[in-house]
């Protein structure tokens, strides 16, 4: 017994180091291997509060650009409104196709990262505003990411610029499906993989979200095809997609609450049980 105590006492420094190393390695491995449930995230009141303060100052520097973007979006919406058959009827749909207005929550990015291979965005709304994990996040130009962690007032988004991100997407013209990933190289581009060779595609074709995704409604813009690579071993194309969004400059975002998602999930769970 005394020897054990002696050992612990003599090596206490090393043991403390190993303990701390163990804790930090567990955090590291966890953040890489699990899709969700990160222990440490910036969706908490301390870092969320700090980032909100920083953002309230930073916002002033981009006011002009943001105003221009808003005016542009307004003009587009007005164009839709005035081209309606019956102008007295307010259109039921918002800018995002297939989603009713009440199902959209507006929020603001208070921190954006794009340097590391696994990027996360922090926004200033959380469970109080009705956010849940796995909701899709978009803005007026296209998709941004998927909600990962939530606290009372803040939430973190897994950006599409994240090696873990996998989003179902399709080519608008031909309806061929693929998976949208990111190769951690350029913030302006994402990659669409597993597109069948049968698909007739050309440079400049638009890529939108697919119907298979339960997180995003169909037909939300992603980007245009910039390069086409063929894989000799498999019968698939790999496409380089130029994103509509400048992921390094994000302001207001919309969170999509999809009612169909829960229904579809429930249905699929029942189907699987029956098999």
């Amino acid at each position: 017994m005394q020897q054990i105590f002696n050992f612990v006492f003599k090596n206490s420094y090393r043991l403390l180091f190993l303990l701390l190393l163990g804790i930090s390695l567990v955090f590291t491995v966890q953040s890489h291997s699990f899709h969700k449930s990160k222990v440490i995230s910036s969706a908490n009141f301390l870092s969320g509060g700090v980032y909100e303060q920083i953002n309230s100052v930073n916002e002033y520097f981009s006011l002009k650009g943001k105003n221009e973007a808003l005016a542009f979006e307004n003009a587009r919406l007005k164009a839709i409104l005035y081209n309606q058959q019956d102008t007295s009827k307010i259109p039921e749909l918002d800018t995002i196709k297939g989603v009713k207005k009440i199902n959209i929550i507006v929020s603001k990015v208070i921190r954006n990262s794009y340097q590391s291979p696994e990027n996360y965005i922090t926004i200033n709304s959380g469970s109080k505003q009705g956010l849940k994990t796995d909701m899709g996040v978009v803005n007026d130009l296209g998709i941004i990411g998927i909600i990962e962690n939530i606290s009372e007032n803040y939430a973190t988004i897994q950006s599409i610029l994240n090696l873990k991100s996998k989003i179902n997407a399709k080519i608008k013209k031909s309806n061929h499906f693929g998976t949208l990933i990111w190769n951690a190289k350029n913030t302006g581009f994402a990659q669409l993989i597993e597109v069948p060779r049968l698909a007739a595609i050309r440079k400049g074709d638009t890529v939108v979200t697919g119907a298979d995704s339960r997180i995003f409604p169909e037909n939300i813009g992603i980007g245009t095809i910039d390069n086409i690579y063929t894989d000799n071993e498999t019968n698939y194309y790999t496409l380089n997609i130029r994103l509509f969004n400048d992921m390094t400059n994000l302001g207001h975002v919309y969170i999509i609450k999809s009612k169909e998602k829960e229904e579809v999930m429930k249905l699929e769970a029942i189907t699987k049980k029956d098999e």
Partner: protein, 164 residues
């Protein structure tokens, strides 16, 4: 003691407010917050250094959303620090009065170079965590280390305490 606590918070604030937003070439960030571990007194309490490094790393991880990579790199650096002293200043470093916070000599430069490179190597290897990005990771380690070393030397010269 007081200066160490002040340094801890000042470096952390500077890192989060300024240096994390630099993104040189779109993806390079310097990490001069490690200066806290480098400037900790040579004969100071090693337990408190280890625990302070852990706190430093975990706060960085919370703000960077990076899991535990900063924490691991920081405590590894704090644990290995005596070896770097031995490497740069000779075996009997404990009996000299080492001041990192002073004019740049070859010994001091080798100390800064080796510690920061090792810290960044651990940081970026754990961050990418994938073997197929090994070249990008290496590239990032080298460029980011150069960036941090330049900034660290600048900071040391700017805040060099007056000798009088």
């Amino acid at each position: 003691m007081l200066s160490n606590i002040a340094r801890f918070f000042l470096l952390l604030a500077a890192q989060i407010l300024v240096f994390n937003n630099m993104s040189f070439f779109g993806y390079l960030n310097p990490y001069p917050y490690v200066l806290f571990i480098l400037l900790f007194p040579v004969n100071g309490n090693r337990f408190s250094l280890l625990l302070a490094s852990f706190a430093l790393g975990i706060i960085m991880d919370i703000f960077c959303n990076s899991g535990g990579v900063h924490t691991t790199a920081c405590i590894a650096l704090a644990y290995l620090r005596p070896n770097f002293f031995k490497f740069s200043f000779g075996v009997s470093y404990e009996y000299q009065t080492i001041r990192i916070n002073d004019k740049l000599t070859p010994e001091r430069f080798s100390f800064i170079l080796s510690t920061i490179t090792v810290h960044h190597a651990i940081l970026f290897i754990l961050e990418s965590f994938r073997i197929n990005y090994i070249f990008e990771t290496f590239f990032k380690i080298i460029l980011s280390s150069i960036f941090t070393i330049l900034l660290v030397i600048l900071i040391i010269y700017l805040f060099k305490p007056n000798k009088r």
